[in-house]
Structure formats: C-alpha cells, structure tokens
C-alpha cells in the first residue's frame, strides 16, 4: 500500500507536469475524449499533444505490456492512476473500442504478430475499431449469424451484412464474426476475423434512431477479400473469442453506467426545483420527490455493488455473472432516470426542435428516447435474465 501511495504522488506530479492546461476540468464520460484513427478530424493541438505524451508514457493503455505500447502497470496502480486523473478532472488521452474490447481480446487470444501489428496503434490512437457482431436476422440469437467467409488461397472472401456497428463510418478496422462452416452446429462454424475498413467491397450506412441520428451503422460486405492471418483464434472457433469479448463489453457497460449515474440525484432535484418553481425546501410534488429518492437510492445501490464486485475481483475472485446483473440493473436505472427527467419537465419535455425549448431540454428528450435502446443493445435484458437463471441460479435442465 505504501508503494501505491508513492505511485499516486509520482503520477500526480507527472500528470501536472505534462497535461495541457486547457484539458483540466474537461473529464466527462468514459467515451468522451479522443477516438483517434485515420479518419480523425481532431485539430486541437492540446488534445493531440496529450495523446502523444500519454502514449509515450504508456498510460493510454496502462495495464498493457510495455512492448505493445502499454504502461505495464498493475491493476491497483491503474486504479490509482484513474483516481488521480479523476481528481485532476483530466480526460483519458485516447478512448474507444480498441482499448476496451479488441485490445484485451488480442492480449488473450491474438498471435504475437497480431498483437505487434495492432496493439501499439490502438494505444497511440492511430487506429479506430468497431464491432461487427449483430446481423438483421441475428440479434439476441447472435450465433445464428449468416455473414459468410469462404477460404480462397490465403484469403477469405466475405459476403453479408452487419448492423449496430457503432462508428463504423469513422473506423479503420472492424472485428467481425463470420460463418466459415455452414454445415457445422451453429456455434461451431463461426470465425473471429479482423477486417480493414478500406478493403474493397466494405461499405457503411448510418442508422437513424427514434432519438435522431446515431453512432450506429449498417456495414455491408460484398466479396471483400481478407488475408487469413487476420483470423483471431482458430478458424471455426470464433465463438469462444466472441464470448470473451462480450464479457469485457458487459463489464464496461455496467461500469460506464454506474459512472454516468454520479450526480443524477442533484441534477433531478435541480430540475424539479426549476420546473416546479420551488427554489428551496421540501419539493411540493410528493410523488416526484419519492421518484427522485427511488432513482437516487437505486444509483447508490448500483455504485456500491460495482465497488463490491471490484473489491472481489481484486481479491482474486473470478468474474462471474456480475456483468449480467450490472447490465440489467444499470440500463434500467438509466431508463428510469430519463423517464423521470421527462416527467419533471412536463410539456417542456416534448420538444424535438426549437423554438420554445432550451438546448438542455432538447438534449434531455433525445437522451430519454435514446435510453430505450439501452436494455436492448449489448445483450438485451432478456438474454441477461436467461444467463442469470441458468448460470447463477442453476435453473438449467438438460433435456427440457
């Protein structure tokens, strides 16, 4: 523990010395920051300098090995680093699915060549990644995916369509699940493959949501030729890799949500005071007041539970289905929070565009509509409830 405190002091000194002044106070969510990649249009010199100094230090991917552009820190040290950055309100220098999804997957399942090719570029924010899992016919039943990859010499030829490929139009690479053996049982014929988005035959189209334009795209593959060396794990054994990655994704979603909940109670109280015209004292609408307490208590329980899980993991207990619990509870808490915000604002919550509505009101309404997706994306609540029933409660009966 003494070492950790030493590290904390050092980290604080180093960050103070190296972080551009303009970035202090700009820390927001886990995905608010520099996404990088070849298509990046970022021009702020401070943001680019911040990326460079942090990447040089290895602190964009603090726990990754130094040889792959990481910082070689222990989990505890990484947590301290995160705490110091939170304290200084410094944003992460690089964010994205490369760091939190495909990176950890390659560390576990990639060849040395794959690690060497991709990890340093991810850590430096040079490549941006997206995820190609879902298809129009394969949502919750992911394993029924139909995008085909046929071997052709040292390549695979890919044909098919992916949906919900977040930021695909801004990404350089996609990690995708493709069917390489259509005759095998459905989970046995899937391969996990990395595809450069510049490959001829790969195209994207943005998806419009009920909340307006979105980060989501459809991604199409028409005779896209991809070298076989980009397969991660064994051919036809991609399901194993895919599941491991889903685990990182869910934990991330849960943790991200619990982070998003900070300050929600104060925000809701402030809104209630504004719309009810009650600058202080007890809120005059007892039902809204009770709903705010419910939301606040729920957030508090979520935060405590996230912390409890973190502590268990630190004690070396294996991660179990906690991610499913956090996914369900976290996304529903998020929905409840926005539903409540809408109810508090009343008629002012109904705006789609101005005039008559503030930017905050319009954004809040979009957030509310967008939140309806949270219990669907990243593994629907129904799938998580199945997982809890069978893996945690043991409600699994072969032959029924």
């Amino acid at each position: 523990m003494a070492d950790l405190e030493t590290f904390r002091t050092e980290a604080r000194l180093w960050l103070r010395a190296n972080a551009p002044q303009s970035l202090y106070g700009t820390r927001e969510g886990r995905f608010d920051g520099f996404w990088g990649g070849r298509r990046s249009t970022e021009t702020d010199p401070d943001i680019l300098r911040w990326r460079d100094v942090m990447a040089d230090k290895g602190w964009t991917a603090p726990t990754w090995p130094v040889e792959y552009g990481g910082g070689g820190l222990s989990r505890d040290e990484a947590k301290v680093l995160d705490e110091v950055m939170t304290e200084l309100e410094l944003p992460p220098a690089v964010v994205g699915f490369g760091l939190v999804m495909i990176g950890p997957t390659l560390l576990d399942y990639g060849t040395d060549a794959q690690k060497a090719e991709h990890l340093p570029k991810i850590a430096r924010g040079e490549t941006r990644w997206c995820q190609g899992y879902s298809e129009p016919g394969a949502g919750s039943d992911l394993a029924s995916l139909q995008t085909r990859a046929v071997a052709d010499g040292d390549d695979f030829i890919i044909n098919g369509q992916k949906v919900w490929t977040s930021h695909a139009d801004k990404s350089d690479w996609i990690f995708a699940l493709v069917r390489t053996d259509p005759d095998a049982p459905k989970r046995k014929g899937i391969t996990f493959i990395l595809v450069d988005m510049d490959t001829p035959g790969v195209s994207t189209r943005p998806i419009e949501l009920i909340s307006g334009s979105s980060i989501f795209c459809e991604t199409f593959f028409e005779d896209a030729r991809v070298p076989a060396r980009h397969v991660v794990g064994e051919v036809n054994n991609g399901w194993t890799v895919a599941k491991a990655l889903l685990g990182y994704e869910r934990t991330m979603i849960g943790a991200a949500i619990s982070g998003q909940m900070l300050g929600v109670e104060d925000e809701l109280i402030e809104q209630a005071r504004h719309y009810l015209g009650c600058p202080e004292g007890r809120l005059p609408d007892p039902m809204l007041r009770d709903d705010i307490v419910r939301a606040a208590m729920n957030d508090q329980c979520l935060n405590l539970t996230v912390e409890r899980i973190r502590q268990s993991l630190r004690e070396g207990q294996a991660p179990g289905s906690e991610s499913s619990i956090l996914k369900v509870a976290g996304t529903e808490a998020k929905q409840a929070r926005w539903e409540l915000a809408i109810r508090i604002a009343g008629q002012q919550a109904l705006g789609w565009e101005g005039p008559g509505y503030t930017d905050d009101e319009l954004q809040r309404t979009r957030n509310w509509l967008r939140s309806r997706a949270s219990t669907i994306e990243g593994g629907s609540s129904e799938i998580q409830l199945n997982v809890i029933a069978s893996r945690v409660l043991g409600l699994k009966f072969p032959g029924t």
């Binding site: 949906v163 419009e208 008559g356 669907i376």
Partner: protein, 379 residues
C-alpha cells in the same frame, strides 16, 4: 350505463377505422414529417371527413351539428389514434368546439356551423409555462381599455395555432396568480396586431405553437362566456378534451400492442418465433389485461360526458390515469419486444411510442389525475 357499442356505434367505429387505415396510414404522417409540410396535415382530408359527418357528431343540431354524442366522437378519435392521424381533432373538435358548445352564445353561432362543415379550424390557447395542467395558473393579462381589452402574455403548446381560423385565449381580467376567479376567455383573430405564432416541433410531429400576445386589442363582444368566470368554462372544456385524448391514446396504445404481438409471431430467434418464449408471453398477457381495464375506463369517461355530467371529472381522471399508465407500459414493452429495430426510425413502433408519450403527458399525467381523484373525493 351502456358500456358496449350499439349497432350504429359499431358501424361508425368500423368505418372510421377503415378510413384511417386506408386514407391515412402511418406512412402518410411520416411523409408529412419528412417533407416538413407547411400545414402538417391535409385540409382536403379534413373536409372529406367533415362530409362524412365526423366533425359534427357531438355538436348540437341548433349549431349545425348532428347531435349524436361525445361517445361517438371518441370512437372517431380512437380510430385517428390508431394510425397516428395528424388532423386537428384535438384543437378544433375537443378544445374549440367543446368550449363553444358550453358557452352557447354568439360565438357558438358564429363558429360551430363552420366547424361542422369543416370550414373553420379553431385553437384554444390556455397553457402557460409552469401551469402544469392547471388552468387557473394564468399569468396572461387582459387590461380593460376603452370599449375592450388589451391582452398580453405568452401561451404555450397551442395545438394547431398555425392553421386556426380563430384562436380562443384565456386571460386574467382580475385577481392574482392562481386565483380561480378573474379569468376570462376571449375570441381573437389570429391575424390581430400584436399576435405572433411561433410554430414548434414536438417529438410526435403534430402541430403546436407558442402564441405571443403583445397588447392585442379585443372588444367586449369578444368575451366568450362570462367576464371573470372563465375558469369553469375552461375546466369543463379541458375535461372533455382529456376524455377525448384518452380515447385517442387508447387507439394509439391498442394499435401499438397489436403491432407488437404481430412482431412476436413473425420474428424468429433461436429457430422459433420469439412469441413462443413464455417470459414474453406473460408480459404480453399482462399488457393485454392492463389495456382491457383501461379501455373500460376510457369508455366510461366518454359515456359520462353524454349521460352523467356530474361524474365527468372523476371518470375523466380515472380514464386518463389508467390509459396513461397503460400507454407507457405498452409502448416501452412494444419497443423492447422489437429489439434493435424497435429503436430505429425505420420501424413504426417508435412513432407510436412518441405519439403516445405526448398524449400521456398532455392534459395531466397519471399522477396528476390520481391526485385530482383524491381531491375530488375529499381525502
């Protein structure tokens, strides 16, 4: 109280639903939205419906109406709700016409016959920032000047103000802040000097506007009903508008439920229709039960307007509270049942969610009406 449809009513409901499905499918509302249509609905279609008598069912014969009843109007509203029709039912028939039916004065004689023929569209400007569905919270003021008044204030969420041939507005002619007394309703020419209509876009893409009054001049003849006693006129009108909105919302919600159930049958995952999963079956069954109970309340409220005026406030609160809750549950679940496509703009179910939630939050949400119910019953 008769709670089931007689033959004539069943025929009217069927005709209206067929008309809505055929002449105004959801794609039409979508096209009006995407083209940012200036009117936002079709005056021709409105006229056509007027020819079928639908703009006149609840208007008394002495004012050119058919004088059937409010319940009949509620059947038409339910049909309109089913396909998200954007026509000005609420503004003209529920708010404007009901106000004039109740005032039963020169203004009624002037406007109601044209409402019946589909030639006049009306708007009622009553809501204000912070009013939270209480018509007595009226800060707009009408100051007496020689031979009339000058109205100043800002009215929010005025449905269809941009196409109204006449705007009725509530303004304070006496009293302070939230006083029940001292409110007067005026009839105003939308083209009057000092009157500005700022069109707004809401999530359901139906038409509403903010209406600003800056020293708008009206004469004493423009008073609708009685000076200083406009609140009861307004509240009676709002009750009827709420009953009608409940019927429309029932149509929207019931249709969303049917769309969801159809999707449960059609969409396959794991090799079977997702509707074969018992967890989803039970959730669908519970929604069905909730919807059936709410439907009874919606019918009873419309019937009360015709047959039991004293019960209107309580029955309206019952109907709006129950259908609002059901609408939230049904629409949220309907989107969830759809999975990913449910939250895309491409599928219709999201449009139902948005329209339903606007109706749910309008004319008082469920919590508002539960509070009112208890107040009405003295506890």
């Amino acid at each position: 109280m008769q709670l089931i449809l007689n033959e004539e009513q069943a025929a009217l409901a069927k005709t209206a639903t067929d008309f809505a499905r055929k002449r105004s499918p959801v794609a039409r509302m979508r096209a009006l939205r995407d083209s940012r249509d200036e009117i936002g609905f079709s005056k021709e279609l409105w006229k056509e419906m007027a020819e079928l008598g639908w703009t006149a069912v609840h208007i008394p014969e002495e004012h050119g109406g058919i004088g059937l009843g409010f319940f009949e109007l509620s059947l038409i509203l339910e049909a309109a709700g089913r396909t998200l029709m954007p026509e000005p039912f609420t503004s003209t028939l529920l708010l404007g016409a009901n106000l004039l039916i109740a005032s039963d004065d020169a203004h009624s004689a002037r406007w109601l016959p044209e409402v019946c023929t589909g030639d006049a569209l009306l708007a009622l400007a009553w809501d204000e920032r912070g009013a939270r569905n209480r018509a007595n919270r009226c800060a707009t003021r009408a100051v007496a000047v020689d031979g009339g008044f000058r109205i100043s204030g800002c009215k929010e969420s005025v449905l269809d103000a941009h196409t109204a041939d006449r705007i009725f507005v509530s303004a304070r002619t006496g009293g302070q802040d939230s006083d029940p007394d001292g409110i007067t309703v005026f009839s105003v020419d939308p083209a009057a000097a000092g009157l500005t209509i700022e069109r707004q876009t809401r999530i359901d893409h139906r038409n509403c506007a903010r209406v600003l009054f800056e020293d708008v001049r009206v004469s004493t003849d423009d008073v609708v009903g009685t000076l200083d006693s406009g609140l009861s006129l307004l509240e009676g009108t709002l009750d009827r508008a709420t009953a009608g909105t409940a019927a429309e919302l029932f149509g929207t919600t019931d249709e969303a439920f049917e769309i969801a159930v159809a999707y449960l049958k059609e969409r396959k995952q794991f090799g079977v229709p997702i509707g074969s999963f018992q967890a989803l079956q039970h959730r669908a069954s519970r929604l069905f039960i909730e919807l059936k109970l709410a439907e009874s309340a919606v019918i009873a409220a419309a019937k009360a307007v015709d047959d039991a005026p004293d019960n209107v406030p309580a029955q309206v609160s019952l109907a709006k509270a129950r259908i609002s809750d059901a609408a939230i549950h049904v629409c949220n679940e309907a989107v969830q049942f759809h999975g990913g496509v449910g939250i895309t703009d491409e599928y219709d179910i999201g449009l139902y969610l948005k329209r339903a939630r606007v109706a749910e939050l309008s004319f008082g949400d469920a919590a508002h009406h539960r509070d009112r119910w208890a107040t009405l019953k003295g506890y």
